[in-house]
Symmetry: C2
Subunit: 322 residues, 2 copies
């Protein structure tokens, strides 16, 4: 299992490559929520999402020979951009397998980072793992999975190290949860530094694979969830992330698309920031009273990404009562 | 005329009341514009706009007797919120005269700061000055004008002091221009600290009162401009601001609503920030190649405010090619 020293080692490796993102606060939002909220703004991270941490953490571990054969990743978006950026910066060829229906901004950005993009049709039943594995076999490339990897998990955990350095006395940390890489990495780091801190992950109502897996005690597979939170459309967690969640996390909460949209609108109007749907889900849960024992607490809330087409952002927050 | 030492004195008075806002950069935007751009992000200022600087600068000069009689301001929005906040924080009663058709967010926020709001019908021909002046006469209150005041101008200028402290070797500074308080204050401060820096103000195409006034050499009045930049709907500059602009500013540029919307969409997608239409106009001019001799330069761009209803923000950037 990933340890606190793995997270600290990842941090040394990625230090020159990623931003130390700011922690934002708002009196208006504190008053609204009835707690002190500290937003870890990964929207300002390189590639616009926390995924840069994991990607640099993994790619800085490649041997010279592995570097020469390149890397492959499959992703609905932010992980793709992150691997593409890390590869370019480290002089490694990257092939990214992306669903055809991913947001245009994410596909364009991935190509913009110099990666070769291979599109597949997830709605037509193609498996991204299959497409990616074929490339691995043909080219001898190294697969960089989005969350089922110790170096990735340790990289994401660096976010929680920074957050607790800035606000050492947090009572709670709430993060979005997809495959569990971010949540488990943050749990290892945060509980390692501050054993008393309590962590919650938040999934889309329709994409509750982690919540079901926690209940079952083993990874449970669900159909591809329909949700506005495109970054959180996983169908099952990894055994690796689930094990950490079972040991170190209080539990998994759910938020609806409507709750996410309200959180996005409030973050736009009060904090003047653009947060993508999946990136706003932790705040959505807090805003709608779903985080247990939150009143009066000091709460770290991870805003995990800001990659949303302006057009789509506009449509999502239009008409929403913030 | 306002001097650099007035700006420095204003800065001491307001230091504990306003934020030192961050200066943001983006490699993607630099590449797009072909220059090094340093965004002074007043969207993160208190009340969400630079107007907090001027309001605190003016209200901290009130005598104890003036404080006891209260203040009056008229404003289409951000100045109103700023005066309301400064008044509350300094224990002064504030009456704010606002147009009925101002953005809901701004009216609600002004009331939220504890001010008494008096609405008037600007489209029906009522004069806000008239409404405000009546209150001044009845209550002996002090009028706090949005720009025609040395303390207000000096307060807005503090923004440029901060910007040049952070980036001392700027070649250009571009700011939005309405009545000219921000532009003239920044000109006094910036040219005082760095005589070689060149300043440009940007107005809406339909609201070119400052450009016309500069050409005429005296304040020229235009009809109420129709523009999405609600914060820039002035009909004439003050002689006071015009005199500074004539002496210290290179010139006034114009940007269309469509150019503003494109700038807003790009700031949302690349920088993950919400900037209101008037707040994005300086960047709109730069983005569309309107700032003379900008190529390869180091350019300070003022993002002057972020107060826009999420709903309206969504509608404005939806369908825009960023």
């Amino acid at each position: 299992m990933v340890t606190l020293s793995d997270v600290r080692a990842a941090r040394e490796r990625i230090r020159t490559h990623v931003h130390r993102t700011p922690v934002l606060t708002s009196r208006a939002i504190d008053a609204r929520v009835g707690a002190r909220v500290f937003f870890k703004a990964e929207i300002f991270q390189r590639v616009g999402a926390f995924k840069a941490r994991g990607a640099f953490s993994r790619l800085t571990l490649l041997s010279p020979e592995e570097r020469s054969r390149g890397v492959v990743a499959f992703s609905s978006g932010n992980h793709a951009q992150a691997v593409a950026l890390a590869a370019r910066e480290l002089g490694v060829h990257a092939t990214i397998v992306m669903p055809k229906d991913a947001p245009t901004l994410k596909i364009t950005a991935t190509r913009g980072y110099g990666a070769e993009v291979v599109l597949y049709d997830r709605l037509g039943g193609e498996s991204r793992e299959g497409v990616a594995r074929k490339i691995v076999e043909e080219r001898g490339a190294t697969m960089v999975p989005p969350f089922d990897d110790d170096a990735i998990i340790a990289g994401q955990g660096t976010l929680a190290l920074e957050l607790l350095e800035e606000v050492p006395d947090l009572d709670l940390i709430v993060t979005p949860c997809s495959g569990g890489g971010l949540l488990s990495g943050c749990a290892v780091a945060a509980r390692g530094v501050r054993p008393a801190v309590r962590l919650w992950g938040v999934e889309p109502e329709t994409g509750d694979d982690m919540q079901r897996s926690v209940a079952a005690g083993h990874p449970v597979t669900i159909p591809l969830p329909r949700t506005i939170a495109d970054a959180l459309q996983t169908t099952e967690p990894a055994a690796r992330t689930l094990a950490i969640v079972l040991e170190l996390v209080e539990g998994i909460l759910l938020a609806s698309d409507e709750e996410i949209r309200r959180a996005m609108a409030l973050l736009a109007s009060r904090m003047k920031i653009v947060v993508e749907p999946g990136g706003a889900i932790a705040f959505a849960a807090l805003l709608h009273g779903k985080v247990p024992d939150a009143a009066g607490r000091r709460i770290g809330v991870v805003l995990s990404g800001g990659n949303v087409d302006p057009d789509r952002f506009g449509a999502l927050i239009a008409g929403v009562e913030a």
